[in-house]
């Protein structure tokens, strides 16, 4: 799969990463090589094979519907780069 700078710009936007204009061609080349590696699967006889998402063929485990976590909002908010009054602070979203 040939990745061009426009595709890099599009997926970088989806991933919320910024790639400098001067790096777009280099990154496009690197991603092309990685996806060429993935394209080796294209010729493998995989039609009809059930996809395997996980090594365990188990149903999701259930636990009792009981309160286990304590109220540690203060502990978690203390990790935030910016917080005030029990809330996370971010730049204004609505003008």
């Amino acid at each position: 799969m040939r990745i061009d700078p426009a595709i890099v710009r599009r997926i970088a936007r989806l991933a919320r990463l910024s790639i400098a204009d001067g790096d777009l061609a280099r990154v496009a080349g690197e991603l092309t090589r990685v996806l060429d590696l993935a394209d080796q699967l294209a010729d493998a006889p995989l039609a009809g094979v059930e996809p395997m998402a996980h090594p365990q063929a188990l149903a999701l485990s259930w636990r009792d519907d009981a309160v286990t976590a304590s109220d540690d909002a203060g502990t978690l908010l203390a990790l935030a780069p910016e917080a005030r009054g029990g809330l996370y602070l971010v730049p204004k979203v609505i003008e």
Binding site: L17, S18, H54, Q56
Partner: protein, 486 residues
Amino acid sequence: MRAESIAQLAQALRARRISSAELTQQSLAAAHVHSHLNALITLDETGALAAAKRADAALTQAASSALTGIPFVHKDIFCTNGIRTTCASRMLENFVPPYDAHVVGQLNDALAVSIGKANMDEFAMGSSNENSFFGPVKNPWDTARVPGGSSGGSAAAVAAGIVTFATGTDTGGSIRQPAAFCGITGLKPTYGRVSRFGMIAYASSLDCGGVLARSAADCAQVLAAIAGHDARDATSVDRPVDDCVAALSTSLKGIRIGVAREYFGAGVEDGVAAATQAALRELEKLGATLIDISLPNAALAIPAYYVIAPAEASSNLSRYDGVRYGHRCAGPKSLEDLYTRSRSEGFGSEVQRRILVGTYALSAGYYDAYYLRAQRARRVIANDFTEAFASVDLIAGPTAPTVAFKLGEKSGDPLAMYSADVNTVAVNLAGLPAISLPAGFVPNESDNGLPVGLQLIAPAFAEARLLNAAHQLQLATDWHTRTPPP
């Protein structure tokens, strides 16, 4: 340097020939002596000495475990309450978790003494430990070479004799390949055997916590402490843990070892293949039958892995947004700018590359061609193992195709780096347990030679069989007792 086993140290501690405080001070001193290896990101001298004091008190009351008082390091991917946990990323440079990972809690309960946090590839993405925000780790056998990755700091710390064992994680070979490159023993347990709670996520269907140590017997002791069910990880398996320590002494007479021909394919250096074959002949002398086998879909493992792991990573790492914890850019102009600049500044280039590959593979129009196809490949790779284990008890081959390569040799070429995982990633895709153990040396320009690792793979939950075979080989050989130059 210290080269005693966990059992020998435990005995010395119980006989009062040495205290945990003395052992811990020696470990801390060794960490300083070997600081040029850059094996540790954080050294916790105060915490270590306090833990040693508690261990010494427990030893006088006989309220102790096999690991009580023994110094070790955690890979810096395990959350440690109150101790900075960086995952070797600028993103988490100042992250101090408010809780312990399950593995951390288990080793605290055992009163083992953590002296700090080991360097690694950023977010466990790498095979050389050159992707760390805190700089590369050097291989104690030859400091011009890499220790392997991503658990490179853990492996170097054990090989250099700073500690007796280290925790690690293995998503595509990140315990086994550094163990091979550093001449030590590394165990990747079955997926689900060790809780992932508090282990920073890279690719959740592949990530597996484990141990690096000098011998299989030591790995068995540590596995006993960290394995078992934990309700906080939904994929942690509720099933009794086999007594791997007791199983170590079982004879290997009659055990069938499948030698996978694909693991000796193109790219495997002659010296590595020869050392692996010599180790296999030692197993034969111990009563094992070697059987030539094929894993016909082995070549699909690298392509499948480098779709699945990045896809899961792109999802897992979306949590780093500069809002709740982790790096935040200065002066964000908008929420979008906050997300984008915080992530671009916080993540290194390999992490960004994998996020981009994963985002692409999961994006509309490409999901079937990449992610779904990789999942189909995963199924046939896993089926190969199931079919092979119908006629053999273990599968063997070289852990890595080469010995430790030079720093900088592959860091400019992501695909060359990915090929270092050619013999290890299939095990993670299938969720199986595997071990790498020293299997001789390949001569190099220094006098010491460079270590080669033998990989043994077992069916799910057969860690006892794996450790038993590795231990019996280590009773008959001395490769694992060799140490790098001081």
